[in-house]
């Protein structure tokens, strides 16, 4: 099994499990405590398992335009944006963050999709003057998330963090390493994802020192809380909520598709079904009781199956079971009553549009105290 540069810490303090070929922490003390720390204060996550791929060279802009449905050239250097890699049929190969840097682009991709994505990028780069550089193993990536993320990270950073706006990034020193700091995340909260450029698998001592210092101000959190936080925020997980058979419209991700953009992989397919009626659409479901899980059927009042749960969890904020699900458009209205079949018995719930929490009090848009 692969390890991250922070593996020694995880072995000593965490409950470990295999994820995407990596031995990763599921939790350190408790998923519930870690979840609430991120919603109310700050938490840190080792996300070094995620793939980091740098694209540079004269044709890097042209290649990125070919790969994603979002207009990449209209993003100024310093912008970070969420987008998708699509196949020719318009299905989703991966979802990712792209950072436009001074030299080119930095792609942050899902750990489980790393080799598939690299093969896809390589296959489409034929004839382009571009360098594709997988920097995953030579770097470390730490997410600092929560309303107090700025206070947690600031003492280690060489620049004023307030100058980094949401979905932008800067280069700065973090601890004893050069770093790219992007104001993004996968929890719904304000926060940063820090790529430490000078410390990786070869020598993780600088990364370990950064993590240890952060852990005095932010709670180390594992993949369990990372998952419950992203479900509560309504963010899709590749392999559960989206895959190569999902199109961006039914996944409610059409906002990444730049209107009028053509000439990218999957673009013709997207154009052909952008006006077609959807057969299913991604929604949230809140249950009155019980906890929905991946694969459970969604039914209407006549017990007809109208959808499927793709992610299920317990929401520590609502103290209720919550689901991301695909349902038939006719049953997708907000507030519509539905049932989720929980081990042969129906659990009553209602359709919502995530995030599941009240955005006045939680998440990065929350009213400042």
């Amino acid at each position: 099994m692969k390890q991250t540069p922070l593996h020694d810490y995880h072995v000593k303090h965490g409950k470990l499990a295999e994820f995407a070929g990596y031995e990763m922490p599921l939790w350190y003390t408790s998923i519930l405590e870690e979840h609430l720390a991120v919603r109310n204060k700050a938490g840190i996550f080792d996300v070094s398992h995620m793939g980091r791929v740098a694209l540079d060279g004269p044709d890097a802009p042209k290649l990125v335009e070919l790969l994603v449905p979002t207009s990449a050239s209209s993003q100024a250097p310093g912008k970070s944006f969420y987008t998708l890699l699509l196949n020719q049929k318009g299905g989703i190969i991966d979802d990712l963050i792209v950072m436009r840097t001074e030299l080119g682009y930095l792609l942050v991709i899902n750990a489980a999709n790393k080799s598939k994505d690299l093969a896809h990028i390589q296959a489409n780069s034929e004839g382009y003057d571009v360098n594709i550089n997988d920097i995953t193993d030579s770097t470390t990536m730490i997410a600092v998330q929560g309303p107090e993320a700025t206070q947690a990270l600031q003492p280690l950073a060489s620049i004023e963090l307030s100058q980094i706006k949401r979905y932008t990034h800067v280069n700065a020193m973090v601890g004893d390493s050069r770093a790219t700091i992007t104001r993004t995340g996968y929890t719904g909260e304000d926060g940063f994802e820090v790529i430490l450029l000078d410390t990786g698998l070869q020598d993780g001592s600088v990364a370990t020192a950064v993590w240890a210092d952060l852990s005095t101000r932010a709670k180390p959190s594992g993949l369990g809380a990372r998952d419950s936080l992203r479900v509560e925020a309504g963010l899709p997980l590749y392999g559960s909520d989206i895959d190569d058979t999902t199109n961006p419209f039914e996944a409610e991700l059409s906002w990444v598709v730049t209107k009028g953009k053509t000439g990218y992989i999957g673009g013709e397919s997207l154009a052909s079904f952008s006006n077609a009626p959807l057969s299913r659409v991604r929604r949230g479901i809140v249950l009155d009781e019980k906890i929905p899980r991946h694969g459970f059927a969604v039914t209407d009042s006549q017990n007809e199956v109208i959808g499927t749960v793709t992610s299920g969890s317990f929401s520590p904020i609502l103290k209720k079971g919550i689901a991301l699900a695909y349902v038939e458009p006719a049953h997708s209205g907000i507030g519509e009553a539905v049932d989720v079949m929980v081990r042969d018995s129906p659990a009553h719930g209602a359709i919502t549009k995530p995030p599941f929490y009240d955005e006045k009090f939680f998440g990065w848009k929350r009213l400042k105290q």
Partner: protein, 134 residues
């Protein structure tokens, strides 16, 4: 992460990590500290009704953490006489006090003499936890 899974003496155990406290005429049932720690935070339990019959090593409900669902197995056959109603509002009692306040059901055993021998005592359960096959 080494944890001290203290196994109380005088109780009987299943290999599925339930415990049974055998009293005069009734048996209380819960899950062991090891099971509670492995599940992590218990957030929901699905439990039988009073009066329902349960069978030794048959399932009588589920216990759920944020991430996982586990079946609950009855240590002994019998009739459910009590259900710990505190757990619907405070499922965390299973983690905080697995052997006392976190008890789950009480049953009147129907075949105690024959079935008791199939359970582990505290020594056997401790050995079972130390073995690689749990």
């Amino acid at each position: 992460m080494e944890a001290n899974h203290g196994v109380p003496e005088g109780l009987y155990y299943t290999k599925e990590h339930e415990w049974a406290r055998i009293g005069p005429g009734s048996v209380s049932v819960g899950i062991t500290e090891y099971a509670a720690k492995t599940l992590n935070d218990v957030v929901y339990l699905s439990l039988p009704s009073v009066g329902q019959d349960v069978e030794q090593l048959g399932t009588f409900g589920t216990v759920e953490s944020i991430k996982a669902v586990s079946e609950l197995y009855a240590p002994l056959s019998g009739k459910v006489t009590k259900v710990n109603s505190e757990l619907s509002n405070h499922p965390e009692l299973v983690n905080k006090s697995p052997y006392q306040d976190g008890w789950i059901i009480e049953i009147t055993p129907s075949n105690l003499a024959n079935e008791k021998g199939r359970l582990l005592d505290s020594k056997q359960y401790t050995d079972f936890l130390a073995s690689p096959d749990h």
